[in-house]
């Protein structure tokens, strides 16, 4: 973390929702008309982190972990139940106009463009709403249109665009005011692999060109691996991990994989570790990381190995393990 003041500062942030609840059935429905019961649900539970200016941070967690709630609190849409937040020195919940002009929140499943008209007309409305001087607007719009390769799309009614095309156009609309902080909530959800890659490239380019701070949630680990050196993992509302992506693997994965290439032989490998894959002349083993040195030496000694590589398990597998953590175990892990 650099010494300059953080772009995003979160300290003990908590959000508790009051959720109405009742039993099923007509009698319970009638009873709830006069005596409604509520239950407190802690969506975000005392999380603390900083994000430096220009940093791209992956904000990970399974569904219902509290990611979107956190992003909504950071963008000023939700009022925190407890804790303190500042973004670019502003308190988001005050919803100051100057603050709203410096941020954007892009949600993969929501759109802000007017459905029936070409996006270019919605862009002009955003110019007026964000008070962008006309010459700056034209320059930024043309730059974003070029970066996103949407020159021919912005003149078509939004309803005629594919999901991926619409997302690119949404990005353009949401960034016309050149926000310094981007909150991206599943920006690539539902997009095909090619479109996901293009959106990723665009986010990286925008971050570098405008030195923007980005907090990104995504279920696609390819997004996270491509964009984020640092990740924050939240689970059951609590902060589980904050650090480098590589450190996440070290912290949560006790296993490593060994890929082998052998000259001939049908040797039984089960004694060395869990056989994940076996092909003629090659195999992949999963071995506890404390055993790696011993097993590697043993393999090289026992077999006619032509190539051997030791790798961390795929990030998807690690994240899957982390997400499988039960609520009661989260406090223990994050303590």
């Amino acid at each position: 973390m650099s010494q300059q003041s953080p772009a995003i500062h979160v300290n003990g942030l908590t959000k508790i929702y009051k959720v109405p609840e009742r039993e099923g059935g007509l009698a319970a429905a009638m009873k709830s008309l006069v005596n409604r019961k509520y239950k407190d649900v802690k969506a975000v539970d005392h999380i603390t982190f900083d994000v430096a200016p220009g940093e791209v941070v992956g904000f990970l967690g399974p569904n219902g972990a509290g990611k979107t709630t956190t992003l909504k609190m950071l963008s000023g849409l939700l009022y925190p139940s407890d804790g303190a937040v500042t973004v670019l020195g502003y308190i988001p919940s005050k919803r100051e106009k100057d603050y709203l002009r410096k941020i954007t929140l892009i949600m993969g499943q929501r759109n802000q463009l007017v459905w029936d008209i070409p996006a270019i007309d919605s862009f002009d409305l955003n110019r007026a709403i964000y008070r962008i001087p006309t010459d700056t607007y034209i320059k930024t719009r043309d730059e974003l249109v070029e970066l996103l390769e949407i020159g021919d799309l912005v003149k078509k009614p939004v309803r005629n665009l594919s999901l991926g095309e619409r997302m690119k156009v949404e990005f353009c609309a949401a960034l016309l005011h050149l926000p310094k902080v981007l909150f991206l909530d599943e920006p690539t959800i539902g997009l095909d692999v090619t479109m996901q890659r293009r959106i990723r490239q665009f986010i990286a380019e925008y971050n570098q060109r405008y030195d923007a701070t980005v907090l990104l949630t995504s279920h696609y680990m390819a997004d996270v691996e491509a964009l984020c050196k640092r990740v924050i993992v939240i689970h059951h509302g609590k902060l589980l991990f904050d650090g480098d992506l590589s450190a996440l693997v070290d912290r949560f994965s006790s296993m490593k994989t060994i890929a082998l290439k052998m000259d001939g032989g049908e040797a039984d490998l089960s004694g060395y570790g869990e056989v994940v894959d076996r092909q003629p002349g090659s195999a992949v083993l999963r071995v506890h990381k404390n055993e790696i040195a011993r097993i590697t030496a043993q393999l090289l000694n026992d077999l006619d190995i032509s190539d051997l590589t030791v790798e961390d398990p795929p990030i998807e597998d690690v994240i899957e393990d982390v997400f499988a953590t039960k609520a009661e175990d989260v406090a223990e892990v994050s303590a």
Binding site: L78, Y79, L100, I103
Partner: protein, 267 residues
């Protein structure tokens, strides 16, 4: 102020672009606009004819004048219906609007103004056709016609804002429609929509004077057809001003509370 005007101008442009996408829909709207005043006209003309040619001081040609002017006032004072606003709140469509550094009231109002301008292109032909069919009798006076324009604009702002307030209630209950239906029934009767207020019993007319709807509908209408004295017109503007203060104060307070409410429960 210039920035706000720029938002209104840009939003109205967007609305024109949307309307251009739905030309057939616009044409069909003419038919809809035609139907309601024609029904009232036929009913009241029949009643007047059976009552010796007059009801509560309105002759058949005067009823025609009332309902032809009614077509313009009605169309110009339509606001967002709370069904639409309720859906926007329930489906989270308000979220992006709350991230804009501008009160959503402004782009919404600009959108509505855009539709009004477009609808004039269908309302005026409708009024001409009704005039040719029903031969109205109007006592048009220069001062009243001049005063009608601000009276109609204020009526639009008041009614539109009142509906907006009702829609904001959607932040607390996602079933604003029931309340809207109740108030709409009162407005229908005591606003001059179903019949001129003079056809109501005196006690109902007194109640109507204390409620906002008369000043959002019957007042500009009676003004333009020449049924008000200059003194009555001044009282009308005074009542519009009074309701304006009340309605905008309510909007301001309610909006702050609505955003706090939304911030507390999410959406």
């Amino acid at each position: 102020m210039t920035a706000l005007l720029d938002i209104y101008r840009s939003r109205i442009k967007t609305t024109f672009a949307m309307a251009a996408q739905y030309r057939v829909d616009m044409a069909l709207q003419i038919l809809g606009k035609f139907a309601e005043p024609v029904i009232y006209l036929v009913v009241w003309s029949t009643i007047a004819n059976q009552s010796g040619g007059e009801v509560s001081g309105y002759t058949v040609p005067e009823f025609a004048g009332y309902f032809i002017a009614w077509t313009l006032v009605r169309q110009m004072t339509i606001g967002w219906d709370p069904y639409y606003m309720e859906r926007r709140i329930r489906q989270g469509e308000f979220t992006p609007l709350l991230l804009h550094p501008i009160h959503p009231y402004h782009p919404d109002t600009a959108d509505m103004i855009g539709w009004k301008i477009i609808e004039l292109t269908t309302v005026i032909p409708t009024m001409i056709i009704l005039t040719l069919l029903f031969h109205p009798q109007l006592s048009l006076q220069g001062w009243a016609v001049a005063a009608f324009i601000p009276a109609l604009l204020i009526a639009f702002v008041l009614r539109y804002t009142l509906l907006y307030i009702m829609a904001i209630l959607g932040f607390w209950t996602t079933r604003v429609t029931a309340l809207f239906n109740l108030l709409f029934a009162i407005e229908f009767l005591l606003g001059g929509r179903i019949a001129p207020l003079e056809t109501l019993p005196p006690w109902a007319q007194s109640i109507a004077s204390f409620l906002p709807w008369k000043w959002m509908f019957a007042f500009p209408l009676e003004l333009v057809i020449g049924r008000l004295t200059p003194q009555e017109a001044l009282i009308g503007f005074g009542m519009q001003a009074l309701w304006g203060v009340l309605i905008f104060a309510t909007l301001t307070i309610l909006w702050r509370a609505a955003v706090r409410r939304y911030s507390a429960v999410g959406g």
